[in-house]
């Protein structure tokens, strides 16, 4: 028994020490964001600053335009989440409850595109956004971020709605509810866990998205999101380390908080994608 306790102790010590190393880059980022530029270079691994330099955050927020990047990121992320959740809930409901002609073809088609070999699809997507006149606008980025077949989310909603007993729908019909009202008042409220999973996963993906915002803001720096703004800021001010780390903290703290509070939904969503 004693050796078992000892083994457990060693294991936990190892996991905690490794864990500290694991998240140390973020700790370093936070600590550097409160130091002066001279301190970052000279203090070695000392974590606490002499006096916290909140000014770094003010500088990043106003001079480096992180306030603008932050607002763009929030607008793009929230809009994308709303569009994707609405689209996937509607599609999942239709697929899960109605055996309409073409249903199986639709499911097969969206699933197949996940596995099809494809080329550099950003070029045609760019051309489409240009053709509908949304190039160099925030809606253009939002539409691009909402593109894709969302196969995982649709199948999540579909299997969920399939499991709802038929009696519920029939009872709603007896009460005189039509298709729309049944969906809105009976079915959609039931699917709250699916809505939460979809919303949280899409939120984290869009917040972190780099490639689409990078391509779609090449000609308009005012539309940059945090992920892209940070990159160009570093390119232009690579000496201002405390400013860069303050900007990085502004970008990462919200997403880390969202994850810590809602991680159950996120991890369940990922697990669901592998099991399925």
């Amino acid at each position: 028994m004693r050796s078992k306790h000892l083994g457990q102790g060693i294991l936990h010590t190892f996991l905690i020490l490794l864990g500290i190393v694991w998240i140390y880059p973020f700790v370093w980022m936070l600590s550097s964001s409160l130091k002066t530029n001279v301190e970052i270079f000279n203090s070695g691994i000392k974590l606490l600053p002499e006096t916290p330099q909140w000014d770094n955050y003010v500088r990043a927020w106003t001079e480096a335009n992180f306030s603008g990047y932050f607002l763009n990121t929030v607008i793009v992320t929230i809009s994308t989440v709303v569009i994707v959740v609405v689209m996937c809930a509607l599609t999942g409901y239709a697929l899960g409850r109605v055996n309409f002609p073409g249903r199986n073809l639709f499911i097969a088609a969206i699933t197949a595109t996940m596995f099809l070999p494809k080329g550099y699809t950003i070029i045609p997507i760019y051309q489409v956004i240009k053709a509908i006149g949304l190039l160099n606008t925030l809606p253009g980025i939002i539409v691009a971020e909402s593109s894709g077949a969302h196969v995982l989310f649709i199948l999540l909603f579909m299997t969920y709605f399939m499991k709802v007993p038929h009696e519920l729908e029939e009872a709603a019909e007896v009460d005189g509810m039509g298709f729309l009202r049944t969906f809105w008042h009976v079915m959609l409220p039931l699917s709250k866990p699916m809505i939460a999973t979809t919303a949280i996963m899409q939120f984290i993906w869009t917040w972190n998205s780099f490639f689409y915002p990078l391509v779609f803001t090449l000609n308009n720096p005012d539309l940059r999101t945090l992920a892209v703004g940070m990159f160009s800021f570093f390119g232009e001010h690579s000496v201002d380390w405390s400013g860069v780390t303050a900007g990085a903290s502004i970008s990462l703290i919200p997403i880390i908080l969202v994850f810590v509070f809602f991680q159950r939904y996120f991890i369940e969503g990922i697990s669901g994608s592998v099991k399925g």
């Binding site: 984290i204 490639f211 969202v258």
Partner: protein
Amino acid sequence: MAEALPIRANTRKSGSFNKRKWIRYFWAYMFILPQLVFFIVFTIYPIIMSYVYSFYDWSGIGPLNKFVGFENYERLLKDRQFWNAFENTFVYMIGVTALLLLTTLLMAILLNNERMKGRTFYRTLYFLPVVTTTSIVGIIMRMIFGNENALVNDVLMSLGILDEPYPWLGKATSAMIVVIIVGAWKFFGMMMVYWLAGLQSLPRDIYESASIDGANAFQAFRHITVPLLLPIGAVVLLLCVVECMHVFDLVKTLTNGGPYFATDMMDLYIYRQAFDVRGFPSLGYASAAGIFFGLSVFAMTLVLVWISRRAKAKD
């Protein structure tokens, strides 16, 4: 993926049945319409056009009218920078996969044990890098590794491992090693959760009967867990390979392919051809590179699927 299960047919037979059915069909079509439009415009059309563009000489400005056949592909196969990026991508993929495949399984087995204290805490801790913005992590890592006075050199020197600062991102081999280590660190939590999901899908009663039969922990692992885990492992491996092959955000921000293209990757190379050029971009050429690379990744996944089928058939 979930099967396309047929829905239980509504067996009620009344006079208004047909009308009711068509109303339901109508609403179902209305419900899938937004996704269908998005799907056609932003998924199907781009996939088709990604092939079409690859046969044209096109800068993105003006009409698509200079058909060149396989010329882009011929140029591609002769481009040493293309093959350099191609090779680097494989080195990166193999490096990350080798670092992760078994370590993440081990961590998942540890955290899957219900008697383990603090398992949710550890899971959150080790998963955290996954949810952080890759491009920003790349920049932070550039500051941590990339400077004489940076954290890594500071720590190694104060521990006496290094006598003088080492230019981690300035030398070809060490830059690739740093990219691989950071990439593995960033993806570790994701792999761990994949494995955890797989472990939790294993039947539990089989372990009880095994322990009644007198199997010890190692025997149970060797004869029950391993064969059951192989098919899951094939899926996890596949997800890891595909993810690594398309590395972009991390190298773009951490090394931008440097030093001297030593960490140039496929998606970075294609991006340069399409968007990061002075003068006219060569979208046709970039598309050809995209198709060639897409087909390579596809071929590799087919081989992996084939191997896992063979492995399964043997058991």
